[in-house]
Every structure is written in structure tokens, then in C-alpha cells.
């Protein structure tokens, strides 16, 4: 299990690096998906099988599909790739990279000298039942808040995407042919 964890971890790191440096957006997304799959394997190795599959179902399987969907719609071509490449100049990323490197050093410092012990990876499984008990026990408030947030998002999406031409959409839902021009009927 330890081997699996670290192998998947390396894959995740490498692909994430490629996500940032890849000029072609669709290729970058492909790397992002791979990195999420690697993360899912890490979750599984840590015993969180439930989280692992949810990571694949929700993030890799649904949200990333929408990303890909949008990127595909943008009709990117070689010019975009060239422009992306021109943006990847050292002047632009040197500063942020240095700052992030500092943070990494701090993190490593804390990890090595902070007295944290390496617990080992046993792959003991946390069943879905426990996850559920926890979600609706100690964390029920968080769950409810998240539900509120999602509901709000849903309402907003429904509001933005609403169709004023009720007549037309109803007819379409009934499977009838709509011949009237939408703009004229307004």
C-alpha cells in the first residue's frame, strides 16, 4: 500500500506540474484528469475508499467533463497554443514561483522538525457507513450549509437559464414542432 501511495503521489505531482506548463488547454485538462485519478488512488491507499470513488465520480467524471466541454466550445487552435507559450516567460513566473518555493520550504521545515511522526500507510478501510455517520453526526451543520450553498447555486442557475418563451418550450417538451419564430412572438 505504501508503494501504491507514493507511486500515485509522484504521478499526481508530475501531472499537476504539466497542467501548469502545458500550452495546449485540452492537453492540460487531460493531465488534470490524470492527476485527479492519481489523487483518488492516494485516497484509496489511505483507506478512504469512499472518498476515492467519489473523487472519480464527481471531480474526474462530472466536473472535469464540463471543463472539457467549455474548452472544446472555445474552438482553440494553434494560435492560442502559441500565445499561451509566449505567456510562459520566466519573468512572469519567477516571482510567484519563488514565493511558493518559500512556502514549500516552510512546510518541509515544519514536517521534518515539527515532531510529526510518520504514521505509516496500512490501507485500512474506512467504510461508507462511518463516513455517513460522521457527516450526519458531528458535521451535520457543515453538510446543511453546503446544501444551502448548492441550493442557492441551483436557484441562480435556474434563474439565468430560464426561458421566457414558455409557450415554445412547452410545445417542444410535448414533442410538437415549433414553427413560430421566437423573436417575432414576443
Amino acid at each position: 500500500m505504501e508503494f501504491t501511495f507514493f507511486a500515485a503521489g509522484i504521478v499526481a505531482l508530475a501531472t499537476t506540474a504539466r497542467v501548469i506548463t502545458c500550452a495546449n488547454p485540452v492537453h492540460a485538462l487531460l493531465y488534470l484528469i490524470t492527476s485527479m485519478l492519481a489523487l483518488a488512488i492516494d485516497f484509496y491507499a489511505l483507506g478512504a475508499a469512499f472518498a476515492a470513488v467519489l473523487e472519480v465520480v464527481v471531480y474526474a467524471g462530472a466536473i472535469m467533463v464540463l471543463f472539457v466541454f467549455v474548452v472544446m466550445m472555445l474552438n482553440l487552435n494553434n494560435e492560442t497554443v502559441a500565445r499561451e507559450k509566449s505567456w510562459l516567460r520566466p519573468q512572469l513566473w519567477a516571482g510567484p514561483a519563488a514565493a511558493a518555493g518559500l512556502l514549500l520550504l516552510a512546510l518541509l521545515w515544519a514536517l521534518i522538525f515539527g515532531g510529526i511522526e510518520y504514521g505509516g500507510i496500512t490501507g485500512e478501510e474506512l467504510a461508507a457507513r462511518e463516513v455517513g455517520m460522521n457527516l450526519f453526526g458531528p458535521y451535520v451543520l457543515v453538510v446543511e450549509l453546503a446544501a444551502f450553498l448548492l441550493l442557492a447555486a441551483l436557484v441562480v442557475a435556474a434563474h439565468i437559464g430560464r426561458d421566457d418563451t414558455d409557450q415554445v418550450s412547452d410545445a417542444a417538451a410535448r414533442g410538437e414542432r415549433v414553427t413560430t419564430n421566437v423573436r417575432e412572438s414576443r
Partner: protein, 325 residues
């Protein structure tokens, strides 16, 4: 390095052998589905179908494979090469991986995952990429339209698929497919969960984009949809991948709603095979008889009819489970 005792090594070998047998079996079944489908379509359309190569045309698939192997494997110059090549592999890998958690008999499963049901959903949701990337990498308007349709169709129908499964999971109290089969000893799930069965079957049909939900391909409008630009063995992979999907969904329906290996007199595997095969044939019957809906009808049907039914089903099942426990 870890040290293996002899028994452990034998166990590993047995697992590998089992895995290989199931993999090869699944692919063979998928390949066999091709002539079976053509013969059955022939039967239902008052004609014969391929009946020349081998006894009853059973070797037709071999002939087709030989033909497809020798075809030129062409990559269009305007395509995105890497993605174009990866796409057909994704569908094969995800469908084959999904077979890992299916229990064919009490002892025959590759990976007895505790989150088996979710793993299946995960694999089917990853299968979307195959179609989307194929459509995008082809750089062809028909392929792209097919890919767009797939993205919307598969993401939506995955929701109903997952929701319809929740009722079954609630009844069994586990995500493990073996436990789900065992929980059907008294009564097959298809009786208490009939709406879920119908929704699952329809959503499964849409997931593997089979007729009548084959809008991503829709040869009458999109030439061949996402695999318009594919030829040779890459096309063959899409083709076999589609039939792998049929075998997979049939196995799933058997496991989740028809008691898997359970059944009197005959050994478990025979029962499993008979049930799954019935559903494979039913897929063909659906293709022979139903018409393809329009795109907005497909979406409206999913979100306005299937989703409410699935949610009500989960709510009622949950209430009953809570009340009786």
C-alpha cells in the same frame, strides 16, 4: 522486498489467472455480441443476417476482425494526434475495469470492493472522456457535435443511474455487489424496485449510447458522430467498446435487480449467464424496434420524468427501510 510464502504466491497466481479469464471472457462475449446482434436484427426484420462464414455465421466476427486489422489505420493530418490515439483506449480500459467488481459466482470476482457500486459509476463516468476526446481530437464538425451531445447525455443520465441504484443499495445496506446479490435471496430486487430497474435500464442504454439513445453517433444526421474520422483497429476498439458496454450493463442489471447467480437447480454461473444474455438480446430488440428521440426530448425525458421518479423511489424506499428496521 516482501517475502512470499508458497501459498501466497499461489494465491496471487490464481487471482491473475482469474482476472485474465474474466477479461478474455468479457472481450470474447463482446465480440460474440456482434454476430449475435446482426443475426437477431435479421430475425426481427424478416431477413437472415450474416449466415455464410462458419456455422450459422458465427465466424463472421473473425472475418470482420481480420478485415479491420488489415485496414489502413489513418490519422487525419488536422487531428490532435496524442488525444486521437488515447481516446479509443479509454473506453476499452474503463469498460474492462468495470468488469473487475462484478461477481459472476460467489467466488468469481476479481476485486471484491466494498464500494463496488460506486466504482462502477466511476468507471462509466470516465468512459465519457473517450467519446469527448475522440470528437474533439478529430477536428471535424460532425465528430464535435457528437461529442457535445455525448457530454450532455452521459452526464445527465449518470445522475439517474446513480439515483436509481440508491434504492437497491438501501435495501441491501451495502455498496458491495456480492452483498447486494445475497440480499436478494428472498425476492429479486426487480419486484420492490421496479421503477429503479426501468430507470437503470434506460439510463444504462443512454450511458453506452445504444439505440434508441445513440444520438452521439446518429448515422443519419452525423455520418458516424464522434468516430467519423476513425478507421482500422482504432475504430474496432470503439466498436468492441460499445459491445463491452452492452455486456457490462446486462451483467449489472442481472446483479442489481435479478439476483445475479441465484437460482434453483442450475449452477450459479449458468444462471448468471442466462440472465445476462437475456438482457443482451433485449438490447438488440430495443435497437430493432425503437426510434431515436430528438435531442431536447432526450434531455426533457431525463430531467423531467426520470429524475422525479428516481428521487421519489429513493425517498419511499428509504422511508420503508427506516420504518422496518
Amino acid at each position: 522486498m516482501m517475502e512470499f510464502t508458497q501459498a501466497e504466491a499461489l494465491g496471487v497466481l490464481a487471482t491473475v489467472a482469474k482476472t485474465l479469464i474474466i477479461l478474455v471472457g468479457a472481450v470474447l462475449m463482446a465480440a460474440l455480441m456482434i454476430p449475435i446482434e446482426r443475426r437477431l436484427l435479421g430475425l426481427w426484420q424478416d431477413r437472415y443476417g450474416p449466415n455464410r462464414v462458419g456455422p450459422f455465421g458465427s465466424l463472421q466476427v473473425v472475418a470482420d476482425m481480420v478485415k479491420i486489422f488489415f485496414k489502413e489505420d489513418w490519422i487525419p493530418p488536422f487531428a490532435d494526434k496524442a488525444v486521437f490515439v488515447v481516446a479509443p483506449a479509454i473506453i476499452m480500459v474503463t469498460s474492462l475495469l468495470a468488469f473487475a467488481v462484478i461477481p459472476f459466482t460467489p467466488t468469481w470476482t476479481v476485486a471484491n470492493l466494498n464500494v463496488g457500486v460506486l466504482f462502477l459509476l466511476a468507471m462509466s463516468s470516465l468512459g465519457v472522456y473517450s467519446v469527448i476526446f475522440a470528437g474533439w481530437a478529430s477536428d471535424n464538425k460532425y465528430a464535435l457535435i457528437g461529442a457535445m451531445r455525448t457530454a450532455a447525455q452521459m452526464i445527465s443520465y449518470e445522475v439517474f443511474m446513480g439515483l436509481s441504484l440508491l434504492g437497491v443499495v438501501l435495501l441491501a445496506g451495502s455498496f458491495n455487489l456480492g452483498d447486494i446479490i445475497e440480499s436478494q435471496r428472498g425476492m429479486w430486487n426487480v419486484i420492490p424496485q421496479f421503477p429503479a430497474f426501468v430507470i437503470f435500464f434506460i439510463a444504462g442504454c443512454a450511458e453506452i449510447h445504444r439505440a434508441p439513445f445513440d444520438l452521439p453517433e446518429a448515422e443519419q444526421e452525423l455520418t458516424a458522430g464522434y468516430h467519423t474520422e476513425y478507421s482500422g483497429m482504432k475504430f474496432g476498439m470503439f466498436f468492441v467498446g460499445e459491445y463491452l458496454g452492452i455486456v457490462l450493463i446486462s451483467c449489472l442489471v442481472t446483479v442489481l435487480f435479478f439476483g445475479g447467480w441465484l437460482g434453483p437447480w442450475l449452477p450459479g454461473f449458468v444462471w448468471f449467464f442466462l440472465k445476462a444474455f437475456t438482457f443482451m438480446c433485449f438490447f438488440v430488440l430495443l435497437r430493432a424496434s425503437t426510434v431515436r428521440p430528438r435531442y431536447d426530448q432526450l434531455m426533457a425525458f431525463g430531467w423531467k420524468i426520470l429524475l422525479p421518479i428516481a428521487i421519489v423511489n429513493v425517498a419511499i424506499t428509504g422511508a420503508i427501510v427506516v420504518a422496518t428496521s
